[in-house]
């Protein structure tokens, strides 16, 4: 059974199709880069997968079932998303990382510790005010927050574009390690073809008409993309 399957997914804004007829599969352990020029709908496509945005046409299957058959909160815990800019909640790192668990009514300490360890944050950070951390540290908190809810896939929407090169590389290393340790499927939206080549095995290139499956990352013509 395909882990995640997109079938002819399209999204229209007003009268214009942002993308149309996008079909591809994702298996557990895959890292797939979604690349394309600005405005090609990379982030929107990602949001269609966890139903933060409703596709205009087509369907997305998760573990063989249409995502519309899942309760959206349940689906979003399985397909956890990290955004381009770290959206930190007021409070400590511990409260941020434990946010999703608290919603589920679960005792969180062990999983919070596990999640901060996984993203390479020292446990001494737990009591610190999350809003006062650096951009890179905040993005790690967001990543830990997503991991803490126990997802099966991570949807990463340009998670390093607001960070400096050093912080960005650390996030890349962390995500690669997460694939190995947790067997997560990872969808990584980026406009940086260099990053896509470092991170992904396969890519989906938006903005060139219908998509019928992902391509090997080596086949992506970087010259047509910015970065």
């Amino acid at each position: 059974m395909t882990f995640i399957k997109l079938e002819s997914v399209g999204k229209k804004r007003g009268k214009r199709w942002i993308f149309e007829n996008v079909s591809f599969d994702i298996q557990r352990g895959d890292i797939i880069a979604i690349v394309g020029e600005s405005g090609s709908g990379k982030s929107t496509l990602l949001r269609c997968i966890n139903r933060l945005t409703e596709p205009t046409k087509g369907s997305v299957l998760f573990e063989g079932k249409d995502i519309r058959t899942y309760a959206p909160p349940e689906l979003r815990r399985e397909l956890s998303m990290v955004f381009q800019f770290p959206a930190i909640f007021p409070g400590t790192v511990e409260q941020n990382v434990g946010y999703g668990l608290k919603l589920m009514g679960k005792r969180s300490e062990k999983r919070v510790f596990g999640a901060v360890d996984d993203v390479g944050l020292d446990r001494s950070f737990l009591k610190r005010n999350a809003e006062k951390l650096s951009g890179g540290e905040q993005q790690r908190v967001c990543l830990a927050r997503s991991l803490a809810v126990g997802p099966k896939a991570l949807l990463l929407d340009e998670p390093t574009s607001s960070l400096d090169t050093k912080a960005a590389r650390k996030i890349e290393q962390t995500v690669r390690a997460l694939r190995e340790t947790h067997g997560l499927a990872i969808l990584w939206v980026t406009h940086d073809i260099g990053q896509a080549r470092r991170m992904a095995d396969k890519a989906v290139v938006l903005g060139k008409g219908p998509i019928k499956g992902s391509v090997n990352i080596g086949e992506v013509d970087g010259g047509e993309l910015p970065g």
Partner: protein, 263 residues
């Protein structure tokens, strides 16, 4: 005691007295002209409009207060107040389509519950002279509070869109994701009412008490009534704020817990 009720009323004398008070308006116009403040025209037109509105209201009140059908007229007046308050408040929330559909019921619920309690506890006497002015105060205040609350909710959602979506992405329901911002909005909308109660009788003598004192009521009775009025405004306000925020959240999200775009 000499009070307004003891002074015999003559229409012509009343109009002449009113004409004298126009001297105060003249001061505004002259100062505005001399200091080039530029509010002269606005002040004159607003005053003329206010004069006309109050005079019409006074004529209507005179008719209603004396009419055996006062209950019917009071209901008609209530319905008009509800619709007008709902539409006026909705104008402050243009980002939410057909916002009157949430402002009007919120104002109606907040005001009705408190007025019914005031009637049942006999704080409000079942006469149009009491019901209409008190209802007017309740409608006016809940309308302002409804606008404040709704405006703040829209602002909070715009400013915290990323956080709300982050919460949704972590498995929060729309209610859970927006709750902190709803709480902030209700609290912010209630602050002016809380501040008014704090300064009650210290910085200003509020309208109902001032009116009752001029009409010859004992100061203690006037104070009791004023306190009751403030509690009415306070409770109607919080019921309205909670209702409008609850209805607004349904407009801000889809059934699939997706945050809608608000311009």
């Amino acid at each position: 005691m000499n009070c307004l009720a003891d002074i015999p009323y003559d229409e012509w004398e009343g109009l002449i007295r009113l004409a004298f008070t126009a001297v105060l308006l003249a001061i505004v116009l002259v100062l505005s002209y001399m200091k080039r403040i530029g509010i002269g025209k606005d002040a004159a037109l607003s005053s003329a409009r206010g004069f006309a509105q109050l005079m019409i209201l006074a004529i209507i009140f005179t008719y209603i207060f004396d009419s055996p059908d006062w209950l019917l007229y009071t209901w008609i007046l209530f319905i008009a107040m509800c619709i007008l308050a709902g539409y006026t408040s909705a104008r402050r929330a243009k980002q939410i389509p057909k916002a009157w559909q949430i402002t009007t019921p919120s104002i109606v619920i907040g005001t009705s519950i408190t007025l019914i309690i005031m009637l049942l506890t006999e704080i409000m006497i079942s006469r149009p002279e009491f019901i209409i002015p008190l209802a007017g105060m309740a409608f006016g205040n809940t309308m302002n509070l409804c606008s404040l609350c709704l405006n703040r909710i829209i602002g909070e959602v715009k400013n915290n869109r990323a956080r709300i979506e982050a919460a949704l992405a972590l498995g929060a329901t729309s209610d859970q994701a927006i709750d902190p911002y709803i709480q902030t909005s209700v609290k912010a909308a209630m602050i002016p009412s809380i501040d008014s109660i704090k300064t009650l009788g210290v910085i200003f003598i509020p309208g109902a008490m001032a009116g009752l004192l001029m009409a010859g009521t004992e100061p203690l009775v006037a104070a009791e009534y004023q306190i009751a009025v403030f509690f009415m405004i306070f409770s109607a306000g919080i019921i309205t704020a909670i209702t409008v925020s609850s209805l607004a959240r349904k407009r801000l999200f889809t059934e699939a817990h997706q945050l809608k775009f608000i311009g």
